[in-house]
């Protein structure tokens, strides 16, 4: 991986020309490699002879790092810091001091000075101080970026969620309005289909809220996890039993190939959530009269759970955003399949909790196969 080159602007404010020149020389062509952050820093140095000159230059530009002499003609270093604080301008400032009094140092620190460099200093001392400062700047910048990205993701999630919650409400409201206006007459039976649709949309909304709560509980880590030995054979049986109705409705045959030695350490709620999402998907996205095969395969260190269906399958393109929230595949074949769009996100989150892996193979109109490899631990 090539390192990201980051030039940082350094301004030196000192009335001694020799001092400015020496500093400039020490930093020219100096590169700091930060292997762990994958970045290399170099410096663009500018010198100014007075606090006034610095404040004037500040109107057009701003340095990353300021090397500020404490004792200057005209306004001194402390006054420069006071002015910066007044303007709420934040610049990482290293005070250069010949004879710093404790009182001055405390004052400078209170005004936000980051570090001190005592005159006279060697080029290495200067470079060391700048290395520390650069590192802080880069880490702060990265934290800011990460925070912004997180906010963006959160914002997108909430917008989609709002849409997913609003559409069933709109539908239900529409039906209620029709019934209120007796658009189909006074005969209640005329509204049977509408009532069924309203119930279905309410059911869908409830499922969405349940899935959302599951997802946030796993994500926040606040859900109390009880880790105990779990027999995957019986977990699979439980989940199938809960979904018999769904399978019968679509005339899907569910086959299980159980295995001996299928015990792992886990939280039974999480494991059933994982299996439930896998198995209901295999049933829902199947074809009428299709099959679902569930195979448990233990090895030395892992147990593989394979869930295979004979359903509608997915194209390569459709597989790309599979685990992203609300990324439901929208086409003619899926239009009548109910789903919250969160099932695979839940699977993904649980897999991360168990250091497990998931592998998907799929072919359009042939079927999909999800393989989860759970470490036994």
């Amino acid at each position: 991986m090539t390192k990201e080159k980051t030039p940082l602007k350094v301004w030196i404010v000192d009335d001694e020309p020799g001092m400015c020149l020496g500093t400039k020389r020490a930093l020219r062509d100096h590169v700091i490699d930060m292997e762990d952050l994958n970045v290399s820093v170099n410096f663009e140095v500018n010198t100014m002879e007075s606090g006034e000159a610095f404040l004037t230059n500040l109107k057009g530009d701003k340095p990353h790092i300021l090397l500020l002499d404490g004792k200057l003609p005209g306004i001194d270093g402390i006054e420069v810091l006071e002015e910066l604080a007044k303007q709420s301008t934040k610049i990482l400032t290293i005070m250069i001091t010949a004879y710093a009094t404790l009182e001055k140092a405390v004052k400078a620190t209170k005004l936000g000075a980051y570090d001190f460099l005592a005159k006279p200093f060697t080029p290495d001392e200067l470079r060391y101080a700048l290395k520390k400062a650069s590192r802080d700047i880069i880490l702060t910048e990265r934290a800011k970026q990460l925070e912004a990205e997180k906010q963006q993701v959160r914002f997108e999630f909430i917008s989609v969620l709002a849409h997913e919650l609003k559409s069933p409400l709109n539908a239900i409201e529409g039906f209620a309005d029709i019934m209120k206006g007796r658009v189909a007459g006074n005969d209640i039976e005329k509204y049977d289909h509408m009532i069924n649709r309203m119930c279905a949309r309410i059911g869908g909304m409830r499922k969405l809220i349940t899935d959302l709560l599951d997802l946030t509980r796993i994500e926040s880590g606040k859900k109390k996890r009880i880790l105990e030995p779990i027999n995957l054979n019986s977990s699979v049986e439980n989940v199938i039993e809960n979904n018999i109705g769904l399978a019968q409705k679509n005339n899907i045959t569910v086959n299980v190939a159980p295995s001996n030695k299928c015990s792992i350490n886990g939280d039974s709620g999480e494991i059933e959530m994982l299996l439930n999402n896998l198995i209901t998907n295999a049933i829902k996205y199947n074809k009428p009269n299709g099959n679902v095969d569930i195979i448990l395969k233990p090895s030395e260190t892992t147990i593989s759970i394979i869930v295979r269906d004979t359903g509608i399958g997915m194209s390569k393109e459709e597989q790309q955003n599979l685990f992203k929230e609300f990324s439901r595949i929208k086409n003619n074949k899926t239009k009548n399949i109910e789903g919250s769009g969160l099932g695979l996100s839940i699977i993904h989150k649980i897999i991360q909790l168990y250091n497990a892996t998931v592998n998907v193979t799929s072919e359009v109109d042939v079927g999909s196969e999800f393989t989860i490899e759970l470490p036994i631990q």
Binding site: A171, E173, G174, D177, K330
Partner: protein, 129 residues
């Protein structure tokens, strides 16, 4: 007035279709529905609607636009009402008010979802009068 006038209603939301078919029929129109662009294009090979009501975002985000162009090519006199949730979801506003809009939005009216039926009804009456 509305006798024998055929409305082509296209939306991927089956509940929206069910509700609006019923409501528009209660005003005396004949309503034909389609749940996606290709279904609508298929219908248009034999059906000549008096007016079309199209959802903007179906399988593809621009299905409504494409369908509107298609209808304009078949018969530019068929009025088109485009309905969309874009405004309520993204805050993005567009319509057929300015001249630039009119160039690329091939619709007579753009209504935002959720649609107030009274408004849809009066637009139908106005465009078919």
């Amino acid at each position: 007035m509305s006798e024998n006038k055929t409305v082509l209603l296209v939306d991927d939301d089956e509940d929206f279709l069910l509700q609006h078919k019923m409501l528009i029929e209660s005003c005396g129109y004949i309503v034909t529905t389609a749940q996606n662009r290709s279904e609508a294009e298929q219908l248009l090979t034999t059906l000549k609607p008096s007016i079309a009501i199209l959802d903007l975002m179906m399988e593809q985000a621009d299905d409504g636009f494409v369908l509107a162009h298609h209808i304009r090519q078949i018969d530019s006199s068929i009025p088109i009402i485009l309905i969309t949730a874009v405004t309520s979801e993204t805050g993005l506003k567009f319509g057929v008010v300015s001249e630039t809009d009119k160039k690329w939005v091939k619709a007579d009216v753009v209504l935002s979802k959720p649609v107030r039926f009274e408004q849809l009804k009066s637009e139908l009456e106005r465009l078919l009068s």
